[in-house]
Amino acid sequence: MSLASLDLPAPRDGLLRRLSDMLVRRARLLTLLLLLPPLLWLGLVYLGSLFVFLGQSVFSIDEFSGTIVREPTTATLLELFRPANLDILLRTIGISAAVTVLCAIIAFPIAYYAARYAGPRVKAAFYLAVMMPLWSSYLVKVYGWKLLLAKEGAIGWFAGKLGLAGALEAWLALPLVGGPSLSVSYTGMVLTFTYLWLPFMILPVQAALERVPPHLIEAAGDLGAAPGLVFRTVILPLAMPGVVAGAIFTFSLTLGDYIVPQIIGTSALVLGQAVYTLQGTAGNIPLAAAFSLVPILVMAVFLTLAKRTGAFDAL
């Protein structure tokens, strides 16, 4: 077929065409023009306000007038290490770690089953069963746990019916994890967080498990390893990047949350609540900014370590 036989309309002419030609010839200009609006928003407005807020952590607050003293000082940052504040930080990091471990334990069998044993239909069903709670309203999920954990609520009732009321009492009598009822204890808070972030753990673990090459497992079996040994020495190490990727989510989401501890948990503050009260009623923006730096720093360290395990390929 010769070119002449193609009956094409003549290219349109005019300003639009010239503009188009210029953009096609200069790909970089096109990229720049495309990037400009989102960059103006996120780079200028968003990043700018982040820097303005976090930058105030080098200022301090005048004890008497309550106004911000705009002179660089390390006093506010050092205030984080006062026992009361250090307590808040350690408590929050402890809760985040507990939630992450619990998520990993509950998520692994689900991911493992879906990745290794489920057929296509069951796999699709599993995926939807994980996605639906993930995208359900955050507050609705917190509310669901409030219902379950309340003193007169369902968990207490079922414990009574199953003859476990004594065990529940004994658990609540324990020093750190207990409390007057489940909904005002660390147990309740950790359970709620675990529930909220569990899907974020399941998805990357499943993705990592699906990428374990089947012939590696067969080879290990052929070489005489029992199923338990194959799991420990082949499957588990290869699944770890997925667990780390999930941990990035579960850890950081717990670290910054301030709504759940307001509704479920003890009266002792966690990091998010501390930031909230400091910027609000206390009006101490510099200290709020200093507190906000902590999750960002913790996550930066976490992400650097995670990058070495190859967790980003599992996302």
Partner: protein, 266 residues
Amino acid sequence: MTRAPLSLKIAAIGGLAFLHIPLLFILLYCFTTEEKSYAFPPPGFTLKWFGVVWGRADIWAAVGLSLKVASIATVLALILGTLAAGALARARFFGREPISLLFVLPIALPGIVTGIALRQAFGLMEIPFSVWTIVLGHATFCIVVVYNNAVARLRRLSPSLIEASMDLGADAFQTFRLVVLPNIGTALLAGGMLAFALSFDEVIVTTFTAGQQSTLPIWMLSELIRPRQRPVTNVVAVLVILVTFLPILAAYYLTRHGEAVAGAGK
């Protein structure tokens, strides 16, 4: 394929049950006659709370505001997210990695940091709180959802299609309209729906960028902290599940053949 050990099956099904049982309890408590406590089992069942919700003006005002905010934020996110995806899908240039990190930052950072930072910025620029400040906050973290979906689809779109279109005489705008847009349409639709669901549900950033108005999540939060008629909150919660679930299901079916793991990182 070998059969799964029974213990694994039980653990997997137990885990999934853990994910769904609390949602069932919310549904159950919609019908309880007890309005002061969360007593289980409910002493009696009634349908009256649905009627009460129907008559409550504050709820419908909150629903209206949430729908409005989510719609505007979704449109903004669609425009900005598609532009960003178009720029970053194939181009290689200095500073590309930091820029793509920047787009993910609003959902990577704790919501409270984003919220306070924006609140302070509005204060500095003397912008009064309004629907628009809520929209600005929401669009900031909705962009990434659209961006993720669009960029995944654009990478799978063969560049030869675009070249062929231009060889046949179409200019860049015609190519975008006739070739690129139909190909990324479902990805954009899916991204838009997820952005809508995300905005409709957002509470943390909203507490900082809203003035006196309350969106539906803000209304729910105040009900959780100071409950009045508890079953009313349940009915609203079930409505919220329905409103967010349908777009998510649709987004799943639109992208299931692609690599766009739409939900990654809420």
